[in-house]
């Protein structure tokens, strides 16, 4: 199938893009297009206007805001037109934000990552997508702009249910900021997909760190239906844990809170099993790295 009629405009600046967004209720942003284009091609969506932000110079940036002291945690700021490949292959990202790189490696195929953007994936919030979960786990902040101004959205506030976010219709993400993980923080990113390149059947993005005698963790599960979801029961159980081994009763209790549905390929039961296993593995691996 072919896209419905639409007008394409290549925005020349962020101001231009947000003006277009504000002026047309039926405008959609096109960054990498790896989610939007299939929707258009299948006529599942038919926006009047497609605003290409992929070549706006101010969005084609990868910035490292470092503190003066080496120990100071830095911030990685990824502009909205940066592709997943560009981010993942940057040597500094690789060394300092390994979870981000590990997660990007699981997204689709190389051809998809060569076009798909980090920010686009966050804005789209596919429930089976990797990056929203990583954003929550790492405590990322999204910078959103509209003609009404700019605001910051923490990952905790950003992701609602499947394909829904805190973004207003006239807002766009201009960048995402990932704080640099502290050296004592352990991490793990694990997912299961039916086939290489497929979306995740289930996945876990986990960080753990010691803080004043207790274990702080962010354990984010994705793929099961809604947006990225923290396994708070497990996080609480880890608070005073001496090691990564979780009691099976706690895991069962947590699993009982999950509510995936059967789909054409995977039973809800299997999804829960995958999630349980991945969570246990992720906690163990993150602990090991802590």
């Amino acid at each position: 199938m072919k896209p419905s009629p639409l007008d394409y405009v290549r925005a020349t600046s962020v101001d231009h893009a947000i003006e277009l967004l504000a002026s047309d209720n039926d405008a959609r942003l096109l960054a990498g297009g790896q989610s939007l284009m299939p929707v258009l091609n299948l006529r599942l969506g038919a926006p009047e206007l497609v605003v290409d932000i992929g070549r706006i110079d101010e969005l084609r940036s990868l910035e490292f805001a470092d503190g003066d002291v080496p120990a100071t945690r830095g911030v990685l700021r990824i502009g909205a037109a940066m592709t997943q490949t560009e981010v993942a292959t940057h040597p500094d990202v690789n060394g300092r934000w390994p979870m981000l790189v590990a997660a990007i490696a699981q997204i689709g195929h190389p051809q998809i990552r060569n076009r798909g953007t980090v920010c686009g994936s966050l804005a789209h919030n596919d429930p089976q997508a990797e990056l929203p979960a990583v954003a929550v786990a790492l405590g990322a902040t999204m910078i959103a702009r509209s003609v009404r101004g700019e605001r910051s959205l923490s990952a905790d506030d950003m992701f609602h249910g499947a394909f829904t976010t805190a973004l207003e219709a006239d807002e766009m993400i201009t960048a995402v900021e990932f704080p640099e993980p502290s050296p004592e923080q352990g991490w793990s990113f694990r997912e299961f997909s039916r086939q290489p390149g497929d979306f995740a059947t289930a996945g876990v993005a986990a960080v753990v760190r010691r803080n004043a005698g207790s274990i702080e963790s962010r354990l984010v599960v994705f793929g099961l239906g809604g947006g990225p979801t923290r396994a708070t029961l497990i996080e609480e159980a880890l608070l005073n844990a001496a090691g990564p081994d979780l009691e099976s009763s706690v895991i069962e209790q947590w699993a009982a809170t999950l509510d995936p549905v059967d789909d054409a390929h995977t039973s809800a039961r299997s999804k829960i099993r995958h999630a349980q296993r991945l969570l246990v593995e992720a906690v163990a691996e993150a602990w090991e790295r802590m």
């Binding site: 199938m1 299961f192 995977t266």
Partner: protein
């Protein structure tokens, strides 16, 4: 790739050599010409409004806005075509041979309406055809059509549809039975009652789709000179398409030319006609404009033929030594919304169920059932993978009941080479006594057991694993009666430039006919292979043909090519005798040169000869050097194979990895080993996809769920390991070349072999109650098997 290929010395000619393919150069340059690649000036594009209901009445239709849309050239409603195009019946496939007719079969002829005028019976059924200046515009116009449906009761599930009192799939029919036939021998009921070992199980094959990467398509243009039609098509059977187009829209057969150009895979889906193949030529004729339709993937997955869905309620009885004494099977075949191909798949399943085994008492009943789902077609193997799945799973079940090695149960029941030709006592698909012409099944099995190193696998299974994964081994044996008749033809011309050109009705969808047929012809004639061109699948070049289906092209077209080549060689020598004032008996044709035996300096080239022929004094009045020959196979050439596979099953993820895959096959004399091997491997790849991931899923309302490639799971490279091959050669006595078909065989074994291996892995790891009854063995399915609901 081949471990033990028999080398009987270097072949003398081209046949038997792994000649590189002449097809490849164009294709790797992107210079292939598939139907969608053809550009004809002012060609119009087509989109269809298709039913969104599994079963409904159309109560209102308004196309006025679509008709008025700029860029729209024509809109055809059902009422616009009902009197102008005859409903579609795949007449050749629907034929019931006299011998089968004596079995008292049911085979209901249910012509497909060209456009659904009143009742739609599956999601995807074409209702309205829009023709516009581009596909984009045609799709826009579809969205402007108002259509209201009144929903009717639908039935999607095969068992439910077969049950008495089920909703009717097609209004006006008495029931949902499209096909029924029962056939057997001996007394199965008594043998089962008397047998010490009886297993009864239900084994089913899920629905899947051929899904060639190139979807179906065609381009039709009215010929300004003759008023006839030229049609470029993705079809596997161009002559059949020609005949149907002519018949259904009222043209002379000679005024329709169908050309199968480069075709991107077929596998059966492009082997039957669908209504779109009549609508597009009709529109081109009606509008006097070129018209093109290329199915998109959504159409390919939802509105083109599906395949494979069968349920076998099978009972197998054996004695205490594992000798099979009876097979009883009740087969249900999901036909989809209409009986499109009659007995082909149901009877193939029936007459291939026994495979290479000797069984005295047999009772098989096969029922083709309508459901409100897309119609079905043969798919690579056409009933054999499904039957093999049932039989080979049943044999493993017998082995388990006896505590025997499954390979040993197989060995004890195989028909021996000394019994060839072997009559099964059943009727084949032609309704004639079924006879296996040649083969050596015990030898194949022995080699497969050795190659997979069964003792080593068993040893490994007895030791604790290293990575927690469970190892299993499985076998599957099958045979395939190849070389379906009734005929295929070959016309061979010496062209004015002195080259040789072959025309045949069997086109290639990737099988390499231009290479393989050139090898055959070059040998038959005595020319170099580089002097041969092959044109396959252009109805203007040879009047009759059948096509490339049912593992038949090499047997039928290959032998026809050889026959025509031998006739042409004699004609060339006779003509050269006149031209060279010599005697034909003293001449030889080698490397494209005709020379006098013993005095090579006295020679002429084919180019010199062909130019001389019309001027020869006392010639026979013919101006050229051309011969046409048709080959009619007297019997099927029965190919066979053994697949052996080792899997590793991860009980934590449910993922099945194929660790080792061995095929030992037999397909008579091999013309091009490289191509033959690759046909087998390609078939195995499809079979692995079928058992591990592919599944065309409908929801309970008859809505297709897996309607895009994001949902329909195709096998990827990492799912298919390198396949290890071996081959034995039992030349077929049914044809002069001694060849058999092998296009389908590779796809027949994997579902059964892999399922047997996975079950072996699970049972030996303590899941003693696990029985694998169907595919696909997705991670989820396997997980659910090893972790039963608590």
């Amino acid at each position: 790739m081949t471990d033990h290929r028999e080398h009987s010395g270097e072949p003398e000619g081209f046949v038997g050599r792994s000649m590189p393919r002449v097809e490849d150069d164009r294709l790797v340059r992107g210079a292939g010409r598939f139907v969608a690649d053809l550009h004809v000036a002012d060609a119009l594009e087509v989109a269809f409004l298709r039913s969104t209901y599994a079963h409904a009445r159309i109560v209102r239709l308004d196309t006025s806005a679509a008709r008025a849309m700029p860029g729209v050239v024509a809109v055809y409603e059902p009422s616009d075509v009902v009197d102008r195009i005859k409903p579609l019946v795949n007449a050749e496939e629907m034929r019931v041979p006299p011998g089968i007719a004596e079995l008292g079969p049911i085979n209901k002829v249910q012509p497909a309406p060209i456009l659904a005028g009143d009742e739609v019976s599956y999601v995807g059924q074409p209702v309205i055809m829009v023709i516009a200046e581009s596909r984009y515009l045609a799709e826009d116009a579809i969205e402007l059509i108002d259509i209201d449906y009144e929903e009717l009761p639908a039935v999607v599930d095969l068992q439910e549809a077969a049950a008495p009192g089920a909703p009717l799939v097609l209004c006006g029919e008495e029931d949902n039975i499209g096909v029924h036939v029962r056939h057997g021998k001996g007394d199965a009921a008594k043998a089962i009652a008397d047998a010490p070992v009886v297993v009864h199980e239900t084994f089913s094959t899920q629905r899947y789709v051929c899904a060639p990467i190139e979807t179906r398509g065609l381009l039709a243009q009215k010929d300004p000179f003759s008023g006839g039609l030229t049609v470029w098509s993705t079809t596997q059977t161009p002559h059949r398409v020609r005949d149907h187009i002519a018949e259904s829209i009222g043209l002379r057969v000679d005024d329709v030319r169908v050309q199968s150009v480069d075709v991107g895979g077929g596998f059966g889906q492009k082997g039957i006609l669908i209504v779109e193949e009549l609508l597009i030529p009709f529109a081109a004729h009606d509008l006097v404009r070129p018209v093109r339709w290329i199915a998109d993937r959504y159409e390919n997955l939802t509105a083109d033929a599906h395949a494979r869905e069968q349920i076998h309620h099978i009972t197998v009885a054996a004695d205490n030594e594992g000798h099979l004494v009876a097979v009883h099977d009740r087969i249900l075949v999901n036909l989809g919304a209409r009986n499109m191909v009659g007995l082909v798949v149901p009877y193939n399943a029936l007459c291939h169920l026994l495979g290479p085994y000797h069984v005295d008492n047999v009772d098989i009943e096969t029922t083709g059932v309508l459901t409100n789902t897309t119609f079905t077609s043969p798919y690579r193997g056409a009933g054999r993978p499904e039957a093999t799945f049932a039989m080979e799973r049943a044999i493993d079940t017998v082995a388990a009941a006896l505590g025997m090695e499954p390979a040993e149960v197989r060995r004890r029941n195989l028909i021996g080479p000394e019994q060839m030709p072997y009559r099964t006592g059943m009727l084949d698909r032609r309704g004639l006594p079924q006879e296996y012409d040649s083969g050596d099944y015990p030898e194949m099995l022995e080699r497969a057991v050795a190659m997979i190193d069964l003792p080593a696998v068993r040893e490994k299974q007895s030791l604790p694993g290293v990575d927690g994964r469970l190892i299993g081994v499985g076998f599957a044996m099958y045979l395939e009666m190849t070389g379906l008749g009734p005929f295929e033809g070959a016309r061979v011309d010496v062209t004015p430039s002195g080259r040789v050109r072959l025309y045949t009705g069997a086109p290639s969808q990737g099988q390499g006919h231009r290479t393989v047929f050139a090898q055959i012809l070059a040998d038959a004639l005595g020319v170099d292979i580089t002097d041969v061109d092959v044109v396959a699948g252009d109805t203007a070049t040879i009047p009759y043909g059948v096509g490339t289906i049912a593992s038949r092209a090499l047997v039928t077209a290959g032998n026809a090519t050889r026959q025509a080549g031998e006739l042409l060689r004699q004609r060339i020598l006779d003509a050269a005798a006149d031209a060279m004032e010599s005697s034909a008996a003293d001449l030889e044709l080698t490397g494209g040169m005709i020379s006098v035996v013993g005095s090579p300096t006295k020679s002429m080239s084919l180019a010199e000869l062909i130019r001389a022929v019309p001027k020869l004094i006392g010639g026979d009045g013919s101006d050229g050097l051309s011969e046409t020959s048709y080959f009619q196979p007297p019997n099927y050439a029965t190919a066979s194979g053994v697949h052996a596979v080792v899997v590793a099953v991860d009980p934590e993820t449910g993922r099945v990895e194929i660790v080792d895959y061995v095929v030992v096959h037999e397909a008579g004399r091999i013309v091009n080993p490289m191509i033959a091997d690759a046909q087998v491997v390609g078939g195995v790849g499809q079979g692995i996809g079928g058992i591990l991931c592919e599944h065309m899923v409908y929801d309970g309302n008859g809505q297709p769920v897996t309607s895009t490639f994001a949902d329909y799971a195709m096998p990827l490279a990492s799912m298919v390991p390198d396949i290890r091959l071996d081959e034995i050669v039992c030349p077929s006595p049914t044809n002069p070349m001694g060849v058999k078909g092998l296009g389908e065989g590779g796809a027949v074994g994997p579902p059964a072999a892999v399922a047997n291996a996975v079950e072996d892995a699970l049972r030996r790891a303590g899941h003693a109650d696990v029985t694998i009854r169907t595919g696909p063995l997705t991670p989820s399915r396997v997980l659910d098997l090893v972790a039963p609901q608590s």
